[in-house]
Symmetry: C2
DNA sequence: CTGAAAGCGCTAACAC
DNA sequence: GTGTTAGCGCTTTCAG
């Protein structure tokens, strides 16, 4: 049986109160006593029981990572993992631990946000995967606990949002194609009701308009972000359009780019020689495809890191709730051909 | 503030002891009292505080997923995610929650396994990513807490291991190539001190020997499982060997297969027309490469699911510690060409 | 069947 | 500075 605070107290010849204060670096402990206690604690291999700690203390509560839809979507494995790596990177650097909870739209109905937090003594949470229609989106602003949402915009006094400037990033991506002489561009669209889709669409519109190009239903392939849909979508598209009606595919995600390339190859066309394709997300997998895909890197790991950082600061009162827009990076790889003579 | 057991007790006109018993489905509670308590609890939106619970109870302790090296390796994102999905799938189906802890070889030195478990009231753990040289490998057999290790063999009374029959699987993979007429095969080897490498090597030996083929340093490319090493390794290989000294590359992992294919393509060779390549792991990414890679699917998600299942049963006393060998699946895709005339 | 009461291991007031 | 003590919210004897 591991040592308790009582064991340490006995061995150090003090009471548990003193041990607690010494180990928590309270000022009002004699320097010698403190050192003795710390030595004894080390010798006994004592580490405070975190359950007891967060039970008794008011402000030693925990940080949670709440993942919604983790079990549902089978596509973006990279995404959550990179996010976690960023978060746990921060946690590891600051010796804090982060409790992870997997929920979905259904369980949100069964257990309220407040209940969840209460149940696990959660002081603040990082939330990812929240749909704008999810119950927790309404619960967050009402709660007094600070939180950080990633890629979901929720407003509230104690709520921070970490996002990308999706509009600007997608605009940039479209402009990248246009700059390389592409004027017949097909947009491979993601889930219509997703906010990210809306924003990326807006970015595309912006870029198209600025360059005198048109974006109509005729040059949009609609999907729900699934690779297979891009695949069939491209095939459908070419049933209705000639081969030279398009020179580039502007995809709202990397998986869609992968599906698009797959379809083009299956048709016997080459990328980027015959058609250019760009993705969006910066998934690691875009490095392993052929060709490697030009994409917008969302710096997902950094997103996680910053989310943890921000929440940490909010809980410590050193930073206010804020909307943090992280930089994106256009990563040039091999999936785009310039149509402009050098 | 959320409701406590006291609120429920007051509202139901009983004492907290009775509430506790009722809500935990003890037999010795009057059916009417029980129902009243349950109704009141529901009305109040009461959920027991898990911290308090695991503090006070002797057997309501928690299940942990302990991931070692999560922050270190940047390559196998898929792996941990699929594993987690399997584990959380089981957890979700059985309404248990699983605490995740990220450690590494260094932190194992700082905090013993027992300490970790004590600190977080962990009754049993699933451990993944453990190196055979890691401190926790020695701590596990000494501990009285049941645990399940994944892909690391540790013996002990309360220890279950979940593995693949790596030897047989790799043998099968090698035989697959041989069956298709390949006799000049280069093995792309993983980290020498990893147990999985040893086993896969043994599998390759078996198959080679059975078929009168030789496996020597001359036809092995050594790596540490990094994609780039396969890439340079293949280039090195062809500096010392002729182009037709080999027809197939037998890789110990999918990432190595990806690196191998990349190198071959860079040389202007085609896969599978000029060279066949097989991988191992069954990562999702092998579906998105060109060609799609023939590989051995480890059914990682299932591994996670079974690990959680097994630990759950061990904790409930319904299953003993055991060595569970999960089935693997050879997934035929497009990276192998048969040299045998139909 | 239910109530009363003793803890689980810790923090935080409040004495001294 | 340090000891004492009252909880945190719950489970679990032990009476009755």
């Amino acid at each position: 049986m591991a040592a308790t605070i009582r064991d340490v107290a006995k061995a150090a010849g003090v009471t548990i109160g003193t041990v607690s204060r010494a180990l928590n670096n309270y000022e009002d402990v004699n320097i010698h006593t403190r050192e003795r206690i710390q030595r004894v604690a080390r010798e006994l291999g004592y580490t405070p029981n975190q359950m007891a700690r967060s039970l008794s203390s008011k402000h030693m509560k925990r940080i949670a990572l709440i993942l919604s839809g983790f079990l549902e979507d089978t596509m973006l494995n990279d995404f959550e993992t990179m996010l976690m790596k960023g978060i746990y990177q921060f946690a590891s650097e600051h010796s804090i631990d982060i409790a992870m909870y997997v929920i979905n739209s259904k369980t949100q109905l069964e257990k309220s946000y407040e209940q969840l937090c209460y149940e696990y003594n959660i002081a603040g949470a990082i939330l990812f995967g929240l749909k704008t229609t999810d119950p927790y989106c309404e619960a967050l602003p009402v709660s007094s606990r600070p939180c950080v949402t990633i890629d979901t915009e929720v407003r509230g006094e104690h709520i921070s949002n970490i996002t990308l400037d999706d509009v600007a990033a997608f605009d940039e991506l479209a402009q990248y194609l246009i700059d390389r002489g592409h004027r017949r561009i097909v947009l491979v669209h993601g889930r219509k009701d997703a906010m990210v889709s809306m924003e990326r669409l807006a970015g595309a519109y912006q870029a198209f308009e600025r360059n005198g190009l048109e974006l109509t239903h005729d040059n949009i392939i609609y999907t729900n972000f699934h690779r297979e849909e891009a695949l069939t979508g491209v095939n459908e598209y070419f049933k209705a359009h000639s081969l030279d009606s398009v020179t580039a595919f502007l995809c709202m995600s990397d998986m869609l780019a992968i599906g698009t390339i797959e379809a083009l190859k299956a048709m016997g066309r080459r990328v980027p020689e015959d058609y250019s394709v760009v993705g969006y997300d910066g998934l690691e997998v875009t490095n392993y495809t052929d060709p490697k895909i030009t994409t917008v890197d969302q710096n997902i790991k950094q997103k996680g890191y910053e989310a943890a950082h921000l929440l940490y600061d909010m809980l410590n009162g050193t930073r206010n709730a804020q909307k943090l827009v992280l930089p994106h990076t256009l990563v040039e790889r091999g999936s785009v051909k310039s149509l402009i003579r050098e």
